[in-house]
């Protein structure tokens, strides 16, 4: 083997490692920058605060990662957050007034809501796969319908009447860690395992990369999609229950326009809307990136309106980074 070839391979590898960790490197730079110019950024309290803030949307983002890897999209998660909060509040309120104990009633309400979310998500997946409805359209419809259902069920006002301890679920701490972060980390670990270690995870990539090949290889494409949509709505419902606990009420407008931040985090994390590419690790970094950026800007007293503009630029930059870099790497490999 000639020296030159060896050198080339080394360079290639270095380029690959750099591009592989590029987002992490940028995140570190961002954190260092904020540590210097955003007052109170680099404190334990603030970092835990960031962790709490990203947890709600982050939980959904892990589900969304599967959806996007499979080549689909789900625009309805924000509305599911609102509906699930209202549902849990309504059911538990009714059960309590029917004489059930607080704890049992809330546990039952949560269970019913989560099961409902899974079944409903599976249901829309059946429509998507059976009748060939694009998931963009189907979930756009659900974005409206679910929000409408939440408003109808609640009469447009927050449903109050939770016992005071319920608030601990969403805004308490376990040790120093905010409780939503526990859910966030737990979901992340489960998803890391599912996507990397199970046949189902492999199937998600295959389905997203080439549906026909996957189908021909005997992968049950419809079942894979059913599980993906079902579990993403379940995760959205879980986030909805957490947020309703934080607010101590079932708020019909909770989670409004969350889908944009959720999808943004996944895209920043390197997933491709054309399917087949994306990782849970990437989404984690994407969530943190977005959370750090918003938090830092707030601490620096950046105007809210500007924050929206920065978000937009961030998404554009991230997509360009992913597509351009990926193209470069491919070219390098092809040249070899």
């Amino acid at each position: 083997m000639s020296n030159q070839l060896e050198l080339k391979r080394k360079k290639l590898k270095r380029g690959f490692v750099l591009s592989e960790w590029l987002l992490e490197i940028l995140l570190v730079i961002l954190v260092i920058a904020f540590a210097f110019c955003a007052p109170g950024f680099f404190t334990v309290g603030n970092i835990l605060n960031i962790l709490r803030n990203i947890s709600f949307k982050g939980v959904i983002a892990f589900g969304m990662t599967m959806v996007i890897i499979a080549g689909e999209i789900d625009l309805s998660v924000g509305s599911m957050v609102g509906l699930s909060g209202v549902m849990t509040a309504l059911i538990s309120k009714n059960l309590i007034s029917a004489g059930m104990g607080d704890g049992a009633a809330i546990a039952a309400a949560i269970t019913i809501t989560l099961v409902f979310a899974f079944l409903a998500g599976s249901g829309i997946s059946v429509i998507i796969t059976k009748y060939n409805v694009p998931s963009f359209i189907m979930t756009l419809a659900m974005l409206n319908a679910l929000r409408g259902a939440a408003l109808l069920a609640s009469g447009g006002f927050p449903i109050i009447g939770y016992p005071a301890w319920f608030n601990k679920l969403g805004s308490g701490y376990i040790g120093p860690i905010p409780s939503p972060a526990i859910l966030f980390i737990a979901v992340m670990l489960i998803m890391l395992f599912v996507m990397n270690k199970t046949p189902f995870g492999r199937s998600v990539y295959a389905v997203g990369s080439n549906k026909e090949s996957a189908k021909l290889s005997g992968i049950n494409v419809n079942k894979v999609k059913l599980i993906i949509f079902g579990s993403t709505w379940t995760l959205a419902a879980a986030a909805g229950i957490m947020i309703s606990s934080q607010l101590n009420s079932g708020t019909p407008m909770a989670g409004q326009s969350w889908e944009t931040d959720v999808i943004s985090s996944v895209i920043i994390g390197g997933a491709s809307l054309s399917g087949g590419a994306g990782t849970i690790r990437g989404t984690l970094v994407g969530c943190i990136f977005l959370g750090v950026l918003l938090n830092g800007m707030t601490l620096m007293n950046v105007n809210d309106y500007w924050q929206y503009v920065v978000r937009g630029l961030l998404i554009t930059g991230a997509v360009l980074m992913n597509t351009q870099l990926r193209g470069r790497i491919m070219k390098l490999v092809a040249k070899k």
Binding site: L216, G218, G276
Partner: protein, 501 residues
């Protein structure tokens, strides 16, 4: 006195892995129909695409009426007077015939408004000139395929070309539609247009062509007048001396592993056959004869109307890929990029795609078993990889095909369907794929192979079914057939079964 009006001089074209055209010099004269024939991979399509500007030749020159054509691109070729009608129809279904003919060049009243009257008049004039009786105001989707083909020709003729290239214009037409097309082509010949006519149907040559140009493996074999050229000599020119490669002794056993009874669907008419253990069964037939449709229906990819599928003595209802895989069946598609591989994913993932369950005995992927599965196939199939983490995208056609085959071998199948397993891969890889097939059959695996390459079928298979218009018309032992015989069997016309369009 012969006058050559379209000349190609020393044309060469190299594609990755193959030399598609090797120093080809050929001339065509005006007022004549030149059939250009050759088996798959002969380079005839490449040559036509160089004329039409779709490809650029690596070296060589083209002269039209003595004038050199340089920088040939698709629009430039049209301007120079070379128009092409492609095999796949390219009409816009939702537009009128007249608009389709004049697409992109609609006559305008002024800068912003289309002169619809002129559109209709001009289109009608073009159609009249061809002697085609089609209303220019009707919509494309109201026409039969044969009529659409004529509209395509009208569209090409509206450019007033000197050269008209027809790429397999009859492949989707019925007998009567072909005759109508030939009448039009003859009319154009009288006008002094140079007509290049590509076809796979030899019988047609005698009806329409004046000269035949034969290409084989990128080289010009010769040009001859059709009169006085017998079909046998023609096929000989196309295929050359067929060289037999050594095939191991066949391992066909009595046990029937797959039986198809009265299978009927839109494209299939009453299909019946048996596949024996260890047998390699070939299916021959022209494009659209229903070869792929049989495989797809049995594997559960397409629906069928009636019939029975019996795998190892057990009747299968509602087949699906999932079910058939469980019954020990495998299917490699003719479109490896669209239906065989996940190009962005790694070689390793592609090799285990059909066996996710097997590599995860406890529901969790066991990377030790996975690695074993991956390296087993990489070794057995001699796949050239630096790392199995590389994307499938980065592999050559031959290696990609081996990955598709390896993916299925990892499921230890008993019956394999292989649709065009040698399409688009080089000679070496082809031979390796055949060796794999022979090895598997020795182990008792039964294989059904579909191929457009007839030599290949004779070389690889034990038995060959001949398909024609959705029916199995014959079955032969491979050793009893010659390429010429299969060719004429596949191309036979079914005059008695002609259906009006």
């Amino acid at each position: 006195m012969e006058q050559y009006t379209l000349e190609a001089k020393n044309i060469s074209k190299q594609f990755p892995g193959t030399l598609a055209l090797d120093n080809v010099s050929v001339s065509f004269q005006s007022g004549a129909v030149h059939a250009v024939i050759g088996k798959n991979g002969s380079g005839k399509s490449t040559l036509m695409k160089i004329f039409s500007g779709a490809y650029e030749a690596d070296s060589g020159e083209i002269y039209l009426y003595g004038e050199k054509i340089a920088n040939n691109t698709l629009p430039q070729a049209l301007k120079n007077g070379i128009a092409t009608v492609y095999q796949e129809l390219s009409l816009v279904n939702d537009l009128r015939i007249s608009e389709n003919i004049l697409l992109n060049r609609l006559p305008m009243k002024n800068k912003f408004t289309i002169d619809w009257e002129a559109v209709e008049k001009k289109a009608a004039a073009v159609l009249d000139e061809l002697g085609v009786d089609i209303n220019p105001n009707s919509y494309v989707n109201e026409l039969a395929v044969g009529q659409q083909q004529l509209v395509e020709i009208a569209k090409a003729m509206s450019y007033e070309p000197k050269v008209l290239i027809l790429d397999e214009p009859t492949s989707a037409l019925s007998e009567s539609e072909c005759d109508k097309l030939f009448t039009v082509v003859k009319k154009l010949r009288e006008k002094g247009i140079i007509i290049l006519f590509i076809t796979h149907r030899l019988a047609e040559l005698y009806k329409i062509a004046d000269f035949v140009t034969v290409l084989r493996d990128g080289k010009l074999i010769g040009t001859a007048e059709i009169d006085g050229l017998n079909p046998k000599a023609l096929v000989n020119m196309m295929f050359g001396e067929v060289e037999q490669k050594i095939k191991p002794e066949s391992n066909v056993q009595d046990e029937v592993v797959l039986e198809i009874r009265n299978l009927c669907s839109k494209q299939l008419k009453n299909i019946n056959f048996e596949l024996h253990k260890g047998e390699i069964l070939g299916i021959a037939g022209s494009l659209g004869a229903g070869r792929t449709e049989i495989l797809r229906s049995v594997f559960g990819l397409d629906k069928y109307d009636s019939g029975e599928i019996i795998v190892s003595g057990k009747k299968v209802n509602n087949p699906s890929p999932i079910k058939m895989k469980k019954m020990g069946m495998a299917y490699t598609s003719e479109n490896r990029k669209e239906e065989g591989l996940c190009l962005e994913l790694s070689i390793g993932e592609n090799l285990c795609m059909a066996s996710f369950e097997d590599i995860s005995p406890k529901g969790i992927v066991d990377t030790r078993i996975e690695d074993e599965y991956i390296s087993r196939q990489i070794e057995a199939l001699n796949i050239k990889v630096t790392s199995h983490r590389a994307q499938a995208l980065s592999m050559s056609g031959g290696n990609q095909q081996k990955i598709v085959v390896g993916n299925w071998l990892n499921t230890s199948p008993q019956i394999m369907f292989m649709d065009e397993p040698s399409r688009g891969i080089d000679v070496n890889a082809k031979q390796q794929i055949f060796n794999i097939m022979w090895e598997e059959s020795k182990k008792g695996v039964s294989i059904i192979m579909v191929s457009s390459d007839l030599e290949e079928l004779i070389e690889v298979c034990d038995r060959i079914l001949i398909m024609c218009h959705g029916k199995i018309v014959d079955s032969y032992k491979a050793t009893d057939l010659t390429v010429e015989e299969i060719y004429s069997l596949c191309m036979q016309e079914e005059e008695d079964n002609e259906q009006p369009a």
